[in-house]
Amino acid sequence: MPRSSHVVLVIDDEQQIRRFLRAGFEIHSFSVLEAESAGEGLKAAMLRSPDLILLDLGLPDMDGGELLERLRAWSDVPLIVLSVRADEHEKVRLLELGADDYVVKPFGMAELLARAHAAMRRHVRSSVGTPIVRAGPLSIDFVNRHVSLDGKRISLTRKEYRLLQLLGQHAGNVVTHQQLLKEIWGAGHVHFTQYLRILVRKLRHKIEADPANPTIVATELGVGYRLAQPEPAAPPIHAPERARV
C-alpha cells in the first residue's frame, strides 16, 4: 500500500497527544493535520479531505456522537476513536454511529497503525470492490461465497458464513455485538448475545488451529469481534520473548 500521500487528521484537545501522534504518523510517512476542537475538525475534514481521522472522546465543544453523525452525513472517511477504558458504552455508541474502530489510551503506535490501515483498506474495498479478504491462513471469497483454510475449502453453515462475511468486510476492525446480531438474526434479536457466543464457538472450531486460543476471530470484551489481520507495521516493544502458554 502506498503510504506517501496519506493525510491523517487528529482531532484532540490535548496538545501532548497531538504531538506524539504527529511524530508517530510522520515517521510512517503520513502527513498530519491537527484540530483542537470538534468544530475545527469538521472544517478541516471538509476542506482538506483527509484519508483518516483520529477522534478523541470528550472534546469540550461537541459530543463525539454528534460530530460523527455530521461527518457521516457526507463522508465515509475511515475514523478511529481514541477512548479511555471506562467509556465502554460511548465506544459502542460511536462504533454504531459509523466509527471504524477504537483504541484505548494508553495505546501503542503499532496497534493504532494496524487499526488505521485496516480502516483505510475497508474504505478502499468499499469503493473499489475487493472480492477476496485474507486473515492469516483464512481467505474469504465474497463473490463465490467460498471460505478456505490454508487453500482448502471448508464448509460453513449459512450463519457461520454470514458472520465471517461481516467480520471480513471490516477485516482488522471491530464489529459490535449489536451490529452482528442485527445482520445475522434481525433487529429483534440484538440482545440475544448468547446466540452470537455459540455461533462464534462453532465457527472457531472450524477455522482456528486452537479454538481455545483463537488467533483469527478475536474477542473485544464487552464490544464485539474482530477478524485479526497481522500487520507488520512496527515492531512490538517486547519483540523476542512471546513465550506464553
Binding site: E14, Q16, I17, R19, F20, L21, A23, G24, I27, G58, V84, R85, A86, E88, K105, P106, F107, G108, M109, A110, L112, T157, R158, K159, E160, H177, W185, F192, T193, Q194, Y195, L196, R197, I198, L199, V200, R201, K202, H205, P211, A212, N213, P214, T219, L221, G222, A234, P235, P236, I237, H238, E241, R242, A243, R244, V245
Partner: protein, 545 residues
C-alpha cells in the same frame, strides 16, 4: 358554656380549703343554690336575670305613666316586648323570669283591685294566663332563632379560623412553624389558655412548656413519649378542676410531638365537640408534617445526587489528567522503538522497555485506584450479558502478558463451558488480579494452572500457583482492603488487587475463595459464578438455521 358560673366563682367563691369558717357557712348556702341552678340550667347567668327584671320594671313605669294620661286595656300585650327582648338577648331563663315578673306587675299595677295581687274579673285571669302562654311560646321561638344565629356565626368564625390555619400550614417549611401554627390556632379558636407542644427534637425535655403546666399533665406527656400509652387521654387536673386533653399530634408519629390542651371545665358533650375540632386541626397539621418529612427526604436525595455527580466529575477529571500524559509516554515509547538507532542498541532498547513497562504499571495502578474509589463510594452494578469465560481468560492473560511472561501459564478450559451472564470487563479485571497475584508470589518459571469446571448451578474458574502459599491467618485477611502479606515485604503492590477482585466477583453474583495447604505449598484461588439456565438447544438451533 359556663362562663357565667365561672364569672361568679372568680369573683366570689374562695377555695373551700382556704376560706375562713365564718364566711364558709354563708358561702356554702350560695354555692348550693348556684350549684343546683348550674346543674339544671347550665346557661343561667345572674346579670341577664337582673337586667330582665329591670327591663320589666322600666316598662311598668312607662306604662303606668301612659296609663295616667291615656287609659289602655291589654297592657300585657306591651309586656311581650321586653320579654321578647330578654329571650332574644339572653335566652330562655331570663325570658321566663321576665314573664313572671311581667304577670306580677300587670296584676299589681293595672288589674283591679290595683296595688294588690288579687284579681276581680275572671277575664283578667284568662288574660294573664294567655299572656303567660304566649310569652313562653314566643320566648322559646326567639331563643331558638337566637341560638341558630349564634351557631351560624360561630361556625363561620370556625371555618375562617380553620382556613387561615390551613393557609398557614401550607406555608410552613419547618416542623417548628407547624407547631407554632397549631398552638396559635387552638389558642385563638378554642380559647383554651394553655397549650403545650413538646418538640420533636428532644422528646424527653419539653423545650417550650408554658408556666403552670400541672405535674399530672406533664407526666402524661412523658408517658406518651415513652411509648407507654399512645391513646389520646382526657385528664382531670385534681386541684383546679380543669380538664386536659393530652395526645400525640399525629397518631402514628411520635416525632411530630405531643400536645396538651387545657379544656377548662367541660361537660362530656362539650368535650366531644371540642375534641372533634382538635382532631380535625391536628389531622391537617399531621398531614403537613408528613409532607415536610417527604420534602426533607427529597432534599436529602437531591443533595446526595449532587455529591455523586461532583465525585464522578472529579474522578473523571483526575483519571483524564493522569492518563493523558501517560498515553503520551506510552505512545512515544512505542514510536521510539521503531527508530533505527534504538533498534540497533540493546541497551537503549532495554531502557525503553523499562519506560514502557513502568508506564503500564502506573496505568494499572491508576485503574486500581479508580476501581477502589468506585467500590468504596457506590455499589458496583454489573451490566450483565452472556459471556464465554474462555474469552475473558484470554483477554486477561493478553493484557497482563508482560506480568506473567516468566511463568508457565497453562490454561485448561473445557470447550463446552456453559455461558455465564456477567459483566465481562469486571470478571476480566477480577481474574486478572488473581492471575497477577499468582505470578507475583510464585518463583520464576513455575507453572500457573488456570482451570474451569461446570458444576450444577455454577462455573468455577480457578488459578493454582506453586508459590509461597498462605498461612491460616493470611487466608482470613487476604480479601481485606490494603492487606499485604507480612512475610514478603519486598514484593511491590498496593494490596488492592484481591480486594477489588472480590468486590467485582460479588457484584456479578459470584463468590471467591482461597485455599492453601500452607506456607510454600502454593495457593488456589477459585472464582465461582452462577450459571443462569438458558435454552441451549434453542441457541444451537438459532445458529444452525
Amino acid at each position: 358554656m359556663t362562663m357565667g358560673f365561672r364569672w361568679w366563682r372568680r369573683r366570689g367563691t374562695p377555695d373551700p380549703l382556704t376560706a375562713r369558717p365564718g364566711r364558709a357557712k354563708r358561702d356554702e348556702f350560695y354555692r348550693a343554690i348556684f350549684r343546683a341552678a348550674a346543674t339544671r340550667f347550665p346557661d343561667v347567668k345572674l346579670f341577664p336575670i337582673i337586667t330582665s327584671i329591670g327591663l320589666i320594671a322600666a316598662t311598668t313605669a312607662a306604662l303606668k305613666l301612659l296609663h295616667s294620661v291615656l287609659p289602655i286595656d291589654h297592657v300585657t300585650l306591651v309586656f311581650l316586648v321586653p320579654v321578647m327582648i330578654c329571650a332574644a338577648q339572653w335566652g330562655l331563663v331570663p325570658a321566663l323570669v321576665a314573664t313572671l315578673v311581667a304577670v306580677a306587675a300587670a296584676d299589681f299595677f293595672f288589674y283591679p283591685p290595683l296595688y294588690t295581687f288579687n284579681v276581680d274579673d275572671p277575664r283578667d285571669i284568662i288574660d294573664l294566663v294567655l299572656f303567660s302562654c304566649v310569652a313562653v311560646v314566643t320566648s322559646e321561638l326567639a331563643v331558638r332563632l337566637r341560638n341558630a344565629v349564634q351557631a351560624a356565626s360561630r361556625r363561620e368564625a370556625e371555618v375562617r379560623d380553620l382556613y387561615a390555619f390551613s393557609r398557614r400550614l401550607a406555608a410552613c417549611t419547618k416542623p417548628a412553624d407547624i407547631h407554632a401554627a397549631i398552638r396559635d390556632y387552638l389558642s385563638s379558636s378554642l380559647k383554651t389558655p394553655a397549650i403545650l407542644i413538646v418538640g420533636a427534637e428532644k422528646p424527653a425535655q419539653p423545650p417550650d412548656e408554658p408556666l403552670g403546666l400541672p405535674d399530672e399533665i406533664r407526666a402524661a406527656a412523658a408517658d406518651l413519649f415513652a411509648g407507654r400509652n399512645l391513646e389520646p387521654r382526657v385528664i382531670a387536673e385534681p386541684r383546679g378542676r380543669h380538664v386536659w386533653l393530652v395526645r400525640p399530634v399525629a397518631p402514628e408519629e411520635l416525632d411530630f410531638g405531643v400536645i396538651a390542651v387545657d379544656l377548662g371545665t367541660q361537660t362530656s358533650s362539650g368535650l366531644d365537640a371540642i375534641r372533634q375540632r382538635i382532631d380535625g386541626a391536628l389531622a391537617d397539621a399531621a398531614a403537613t408534617l408528613a409532607r415536610l418529612d417527604v420534602a426533607r427526604l427529597i432534599e436529602d436525595a437531591r443533595q446526595r445526587a449532587q455529591t455523586d455527580l461532583l465525585r464522578k466529575a472529579l474522578l473523571g477529571a483526575v483519571s483524564h489528567d493522569l492518563r493523558t500524559p501517560l498515553a503520551s509516554i506510552v505512545g512515544a515509547s512505542t514510536i521510539l522503538v521503531a527508530a533505527p538507532s534504538i533498534r540497533q542498541d540493546p541497551r537503549l532498547r532495554a531502557l525503553l522497555e523499562v519506560l514502557h513497562d513502568e508506564a503500564g504499571h502506573l496505568n494499572d495502578d491508576i485503574q486500581n485506584l479508580l476501581d477502589a474509589i468506585r467500590i468504596t463510594n457506590e455499589t458496583v452494578q454489573a451490566q450483565a450479558e452472556w459471556v464465554d469465560l474462555a474469552d475473558v481468560v484470554n483477554a486477561a492473560i493478553e493484557r497482563r502478558r508482560a506480568r506473567v511472561a516468566n511463568r508457565r501459564v497453562d490454561v485448561q478450559l473445557p470447550g463446552d463451558l456453559p455461558l455465564v451472564k456477567v459483566e465481562a470487563r469486571l470478571i476480566e479485571q477480577a481474574f486478572g488480579h488473581v492471575l497477577q497475584n499468582a505470578a507475583k508470589y510464585s518463583p520464576l518459571g513455575s507453572p500457573i494452572v488456570v482451570r474451569a469446571a461446570a458444576e450444577a448451578d455454577r462455573v468455577v474458574l480457578s488459578v493454582r500457583d506453586e508459590g509461597i502459599g498462605l498461612t491460616r491467618e493470611e487466608i482470613e485477611h487476604i480479601w481485606e482492603r490494603s492487606f499485604r502479606g507480612a512475610r514478603h515485604p519486598d514484593v511491590n503492590g498496593t494490596g488492592l488487587g484481591l480486594w477489588i477482585a472480590r468486590a467485582f466477583v460479588v457484584a456479578n453474583g459470584g463468590t471467591i475463595e482461597a485455599v492453601s495447604a500452607g506456607p510454600r505449598c502454593g495457593t488456589t484461588i477459585s472464582i465461582a459464578l452462577p450459571v443462569v439456565p438458558y435454552e441451549t438447544e434453542e441457541a444451537e438451533e438459532a445458529c444452525d438455521a
